[in-house]
């Protein structure tokens, strides 16, 4: 069992997101141990294992056996399907965009300059 902090389901959902995000960002399937290193947030091996089996039950990751060890990769079919649907949702024009909170927004040239200035010398580097 996962030892859940006070926020319960939400925290579990957040961990699922982190694990899934790491698998998508990786070029190769990852073992639970590799995930533990990648995430670097002090998650227990057992916790990661539990999250992986839950994601597998949901059809979001696929387990691959590699010489007696299990590695996981994201399920691309589901994401491809979601991509097609998202295109239809986002192509619906301004009103659909208005009810969705978008993380990545375009910048005007002025904003871009202001942003680089705000990050400035004592600020964090933009890689």
């Amino acid at each position: 069992m996962i030892k859940r902090p006070a926020h319960g389901r939400r925290a579990a959902g957040a961990l699922e997101g982190e694990v899934l995000g790491a698998l998508w960002a990786a070029d190769t399937p990852l073992t639970p141990a590799q995930l533990q290193t990648t995430l670097g947030t002090g998650l227990a091996y057992n916790t990661i294992h539990t999250i992986l089996s839950r994601l597998q039950d949901k059809g979001m990751v696929v387990r691959i056996r590699e010489g007696g060890r299990s590695a996981y990769r994201p399920a691309k079919d589901a994401a491809q399907d979601a991509a097609d649907r998202m295109r239809t949702v986002l192509e619906g024009g301004r009103d659909r965009a208005e009810i969705l909170q978008r993380f990545v927004t375009s910048l005007s040239p002025d904003d871009e300059q202001a942003l680089r200035a705000a990050l400035g010398e004592d600020g964090p580097e933009v890689r």
Partner: protein, 330 residues
Amino acid sequence: MTAATTLLAVVAWIGFAVIAPRLARRLPPAAATAALATGSLIIAASSIAVIALLAAPWIAQLPEIAELGPWSAPKLRSGNPVPVAAAVVCTALVGAALARLTLTGWQRVRAIVVVRRYCRHLPATDANLVVVDSDQPDAFAIPPPSGRIVVTTGLLRALSADERRVLLAHEQAHVDHHHAWWVLATDLAAATNPLLRSSAQAVRHAVERWADEDAARQVGDRVLTARTIARAALLVTPTQPAQAMTATGGNVPDRVRALMGAPPRRRLLPVLGMATILALSLSASAGVDSRTDTVFDRASLTQARIGWAPATTTAVNHIGVSHGNGNRSR
């Protein structure tokens, strides 16, 4: 007097439009959102009410409508302090406001229905995160009750593990705090009264700041949060400068600057400032309301006869007061 009260109301609306977004910037984002949204709804309702009340005595003289009400059209005409031209303009304004409200409301409801249908078709129904296989960096939150976070593989790959935590916490905050509904409320308010557009824009910024602060608290690192937001914004710029989404997302440089500073503190003064403007607007609306009531009372066909059921209870009170003084002018 009607002119003065109306002027006071208009001054309050303009005051809110100009001052409220500025005051909101000095509040913690959650408080700013609530104050701006509540204020916008109050201003929208009171501005529709005031303009409708100014138009009412003229509309009530139109033969088809005069027949229905217990008032005399000629008496209304002589007792109405609002010039016909102004009343016609007010009627047009109310019509336009209601039309815009209906249109915007209908468009948003349709959009919500489409997005909900999209959510129903998603494969894993109890996972918050939906990954979309696309190189274009993008992420958005679908509002509750569906409540999902959608992220493209392009964005997941572009961020580090820590930055992904910020991204997910930020989007989850949008879902958890029902940000889409706050934005919708202020957009509908702005649809009725264009003066409220600045507030609607300020709410968009405030909910982004709210999600930023939430994410920063959750990952415990303000600078990391600032960097993630900056990097995500700069990811899009070089390749797609003319993306269709310029209006949303708040002001990114401001958000980054705010995160580089200390967390916002609670302040009473800006809230009091907004409350004062709203009180001014409400009392002006109440003033216009009571003057319009008086105009109708004086034109009432039933004012001498007690026992005839008038249209509204307010009318009853005024009949009681003005009984026998039908010709007194104020």
